[in-house]
């Protein structure tokens, strides 16, 4: 066993001793970057003893710099090594290589050094790297070892033998230094920029076989500064190196550097595309169904540690499709386990909602609703083509990996069709649902400093900006504050951006400096002010997707709400669609606001106008839909009779009726501060 820490210390002092012995002049051909590592770090071209020592001391005795200078001197003295070794690689090839990295035809870079105990092991690792679109560089005894195993080397094979000594591995770093200067806009001498670039952009890993000398260990360990994981196979202990096994070393390395291979095709016997999403499966076309009130069924997505799940694994517990009776309803549990370095528990429900889309992507699979209300069907046509329960799992596992490559490293799916087991698992799932509800329910606007925007609808309402807070979901009802947060994390340049709410301008109306600033910019200068909780003053803009419209009725000093489903005339004299046409398109219309149904249940609802007591009218159907939750909430607030005081089309179809009704039941809005 080699103690890495100890070896680094010894190696570094040996390198120091050696660099002080440097004589003569040296340089590489076909490069504008001198000795690239030294040049990138300090901006100083190194070509002799004095410049070497200058850069070495400026970089606080950096072992990479020492190795680079020593190698350059040796190359100058002894000449370039002969084929197959490439030695120093010129700028024009690096440019092409950088091209492939930006272009994505190479996913990342690997360096292999050391002496493999068996050439077969090294060959297998190289093969895996090739398969995973990595460009691999080799330095030292690993090269003859691979050649003896008959492995073909060269740029065409994505295996590049840099030189016969581990010291030649320094070229691996000079390549990355040049890519940073050519492509990353790193100016020579800007160490911070270089390190940031190397850590965040350079997808590089280092694989170490046994047998390195102290100096070589110091060189390899020096690469850690650049954020490259150093993975070792046996014989090394201590230090920050990651011990691994030949089977796992490539995937561990790629995973720790966030290099991902994209899944492109899903191996199932039915088409899978958003094109099929809107297609439903009618009863006559259905082979079997699950849930929908006919059999117990639920879905659940949970986060696990990456060592707890096997990526791509699909398990079916219980009968497969061939033992199900045609036309029958069967129990089903869809349990998805995911892992990923950036995955968070908060994301679970948002990802779980995607099960709905993904199952519908299948040409012969159909899905509605969520959680323990799901209803899933498989078509006769699909089953005839050979689609099984297992394939639903494969579809889900692949789609999650494909659509969330940055987020998920591993996805496994368990499908249960055994009734007893489904029922048992469902009990546990219900606990999870409850816990999640509690988490969102408890959140208050005052608890957070960041709200989220949504400008998805700017495609057709160019100046519209939704501001989403924990207590005010997007006006379409589809995006909550948590969803916005997650969408931003998953796609930092997407339509959901963080908004620092900044100092309060008007607490009651919910107007904030930061929100105004953001809205002004995001509305392309059209909207100067936005109050989150007011219908009357600077209300939020409306795109066209609002679930409901809240509008002021001056005659009764109150506010009515109408939902999209209501087809009749409202007391305002207008129907939903007429109103929608009036206020949509990204405009700010005082007295009108587009809102989600969920917002009616929020404590912030109509806060600017004095609270929910302002609510005078809603369609009966909307009242019914909200009844249990809204009346419970009103009771908690000490207004148990308010719910029944809200009129609907059955007791007040016109504004005159509404005035009479409100007088009769003594609606609180009548005695509130005048709205206008």
């Amino acid at each position: 066993m080699t103690d890495v820490e100890l070896a680094i210390k010894k190696g570094e002092s040996q390198l120091k001793a050696e660099i002080t012995k440097i004589e003569g002049t040296f340089s590489y051909e076909d490069t504008a970057y001198h000795l690239p590592i030294s040049y990138a770090l300090t901006g100083i071209p190194v070509y002799d003893r004095i410049t070497s020592l200058d850069v070495f001391s400026r970089t606080k005795d950096n072992p990479l710099v020492a190795s680079e200078c020593i190698l350059a001197k040796e190359t100058a003295q002894e000449g370039k090594e002969v084929s197959p070794y490439t030695g120093f690689i010129g700028d024009s090839i690096i440019r092409k290589l950088g091209y492939s990295l930006v272009d994505g035809s190479i996913l990342g870079l690997a360096l292999i050094v050391g002496s493999p105990k068996s050439s077969g092991t090294a060959a297998a690792i190289c093969r895996e790297l090739q398969e995973k679109y990595m460009l691999t560089f080799l330095a030292g005894p690993v090269v003859p070892s691979l050649s003896s195993a008959g492995v073909k080397l060269g740029l065409d094979y994505r295996l590049i033998p840099l030189g016969s000594k581990t010291l030649h591995g320094v070229h691996f770093v000079d390549i990355i230094a040049r890519v940073a200067m050519m492509f990353g806009g790193v100016t020579p001498g800007d160490i911070n920029r270089l390190l940031t670039y190397a850590a965040e952009r350079a997808k590089a890993i280092v694989i170490v076989f046994p047998g390195l000398s102290d100096e070589e260990i110091a060189l390899v360990d020096g690469m850690r500064v650049l954020g490259f994981p150093i993975l070792s196979l046996g014989d090394y202990s201590g230090g920050a190196w990651i011990p691994s096994t030949p089977e796992e070393i490539v995937s561990t390395g790629m995973e720790s550097k966030g290099i991902r291979v994209n899944v492109t095709a899903i191996p199932i016997p039915m088409g899978c595309s958003p094109a099929f999403e809107g297609k439903s499966i009618r009863k006559e076309e259905m082979y079997v169904e699950f849930g929908g009130g006919r059999s117990p069924a639920f879905e659940l997505l949970c986060m696990k540690n990456s060592n707890e799940i096997v990526d791509g694994q699909v398990t079916v517990i219980g009968p497969e499709i061939d033992s199900m009776v045609e036309g029958s309803a069967n129990p089903l549990a869809i349990i998805i386990e995911v892992a990923g370095k950036t995955m968070k528990k908060d994301y679970e429900p948002v990802l779980e909602r995607r099960i709905h889309n993904f199952v519908n992507y299948g040409e012969g699979s159909w899905h509605v609703a969520q959680r323990d209300l799901i209803w899933v069907r498989l078509s006769k046509e699909a089953v005839a083509k050979g689609v099984k329960i297992e394939h639903l799992g494969k579809l889900l596992a692949s789609k999650f990996r494909m659509d969330f490559p940055q987020l998920l490293d591993a996805v496994s799916v368990t499908l249960i069709t055994d009734k007893e087991k489904v029922l048992a698992a469902k009990k546990e799932a219900e606990l999870v649902y409850e816990e999640r509800d509690a988490r969102i329910k408890g959140m208050r606007d005052g608890d957070v400093n960041i709200y989220y925007s949504c400008t998805l609808c700017q495609t057709f309402a160019p100046n519209h900006v939704c501001v989403i807070t924990p207590e005010r979901p997007a006006l379409c009802g589809a995006i909550s504050w948590l969803d916005g947060k997650i969408a931003y994390e998953m796609s930092p340049s997407g339509a959901n951006q963080p908004i620092e709410k900044g100092p309060e301008i008007n607490a009651q109306n919910g107007e904030f400096e930061g929100v105004n600033r953001f809205v002004k910019k995001a509305s392309h200068g059209e909207i100067d002010r936005c109050s989150l909780y007011s219908v009357m003053e600077y209300p939020m803009t409306c795109c066209g997707c609002f679930e409901c419209i809240a509008l002021m009725l001056p005659e009764v000093n109150g506010i009515m709400v109408v939902n999209r489903e209501f087809k009749g005339l409202t007391p305002s004299g207008m129907s939903f669609s007429t109103l929608a046409g009036t206020i949509g398109g990204g405009a700010q219309t005082p007295g009108f606001a587009g809102i989600s149904k969920g917002y009616i249940l929020s404590d912030r609802f109509l806060q600017g106008e004095g609270g929910i007591e302002r609510l005078v009218w809603m369609p009966a159907q909307l009242k019914e839909e909200l009844k249990s939750r809204l009346s419970k909430k009103l009771a908690e607030q000490g207004k148990p009779d308010l719910f029944d005081k809200i009129a609907d089309e059955t007791n007040a179809a016109t504004i005159e009726d509404l005035m009479v009704y409100m007088d009769r039941i003594k609606h609180p809005a009548l005695t509130m501060k005048p709205l206008v």
Binding site: G98, S493, H524
Partner: protein, 318 residues
């Protein structure tokens, strides 16, 4: 009465350099700087504000080109080097836009020929060049690498990046210091998103030209016009992700029904008028490079621009 032509706008369009003279590391006789506008097109009152550039489009396999142009240009269409030379000295265009239509053949694999074609056009004209790479994602990587390499130092404008495929073209631009045409389907937000994607991959803003996609006159041009206007307004109001110059090429113009079905005696004139009117409208909407395929459109546009504006803004060469 004098109006403030800048309203309350505070920002300007990013400047982009096209072409490189010897002093700038290339071999062009001149180079252009476009962008820099601080108000709507043709409202600039300052000395030296530029008229839009006119780019003449040629291709290396005329089988994919309009028969009207093939008839007018004759044998030239079979030799894109000579065609480029004539476009420069004969037709009087400001730039040449080369479409590598040869790459549209099924199973195209002769990548080295791409480099040769680009080199031949570069040697036959000393105008700045626009190069349109492949149409096929599978060969993008190799084709754009070749284009980028062949035009190293010449500050080419490479086309066309789209939301689904922009990596190869961005890589070629970054590796060899060219600029990129970023095309989105008549949608301000998609234009912005693509620019952000390009920025994230590492391409700087002054290397991007927006192509909002141009429908031809009578066939959806008004949508393009509106998208261009909105892009320009956003840019002037401070949205830096949209503050790039715009290029327009109404590629379908010569195939519209009115031209296809026109009698042989008037077909050429109708084609020119159609292309001219589309190009002029695009320039008024804010496009700073207008691409045309019929040589006779060039003098008409030139005359129209002259009546609206002073000369173009040369930064190097003559």
């Amino acid at each position: 009465m004098a109006y403030d032509l800048h309203f309350d706008w505070s920002s300007s369009i990013t400047e982009v350099m096209l072409g490189a003279t010897k002093a700038e590391g290339g071999t062009r006789r001149l180079s252009y700087r476009i962008g820099g506008g601080t108000t709507l097109p043709f409202l600039e009152t300052t000395q030296g504000s530029s008229a839009p550039l006119i780019a003449f489009e040629i291709c290396d396999n005329p089988q994919y080109w309009s028969p009207i142009v093939r008839n007018y240009c004759g044998d030239l269409v079979n030799d894109c080097g000579e065609w480029a030379k004539t476009a420069d000295s004969g037709y009087g265009s400001d730039m040449i836009r080369l479409y590598l239509t040869s790459t549209r053949q099924r199973n195209f694999s002769d990548i080295p020929s791409v480099g040769k074609t680009v080199e031949s056009v570069l040697s036959n004209t000393s105008l700045p060049l626009i190069i349109e790479g492949s149409n096929e994602p599978k060969i993008d990587s190799e084709v754009f690498l070749k284009c980028g390499e062949a035009g190293q130092g010449e500050r080419l404008l490479l086309g066309t990046a789209e939301a689904g495929r922009y990596r190869s073209i961005a890589a070629a631009a970054m590796a060899y210091n060219h600029s990129v045409i970023a095309q989105s389907p008549i949608d301000v937000n998609l234009a912005k998103q693509l620019n952000i994607l390009l920025k994230e991959i590492g391409l700087s803003r002054d290397h991007i030209i927006i192509d909002p996609y141009t429908g031809s006159l009578g066939y959806g041009f008004e949508y393009s016009y509106s998208a261009m206007e909105r892009i320009r307004f956003s840019a002037l109001k401070g949205d830096t992700d949209l503050a790039m110059p715009i290029i327009c090429s109404a590629v379908d113009t010569l195939t519209v029904k009115e031209i296809r079905e026109a009698g042989p005696a008037i077909q050429d004139d109708i084609a020119v008028q159609w292309e001219f009117t589309t190009g002029l409208a695009a320039a008024i909407a804010g496009s700073e490079i207008i691409c045309v395929r019929h040589p006779k459109t060039i003098p008409l546009l030139r005359k129209a621009f002259a009546s609206l504006k002073s000369g173009k803004n040369t930064i190097g060469g003559q």
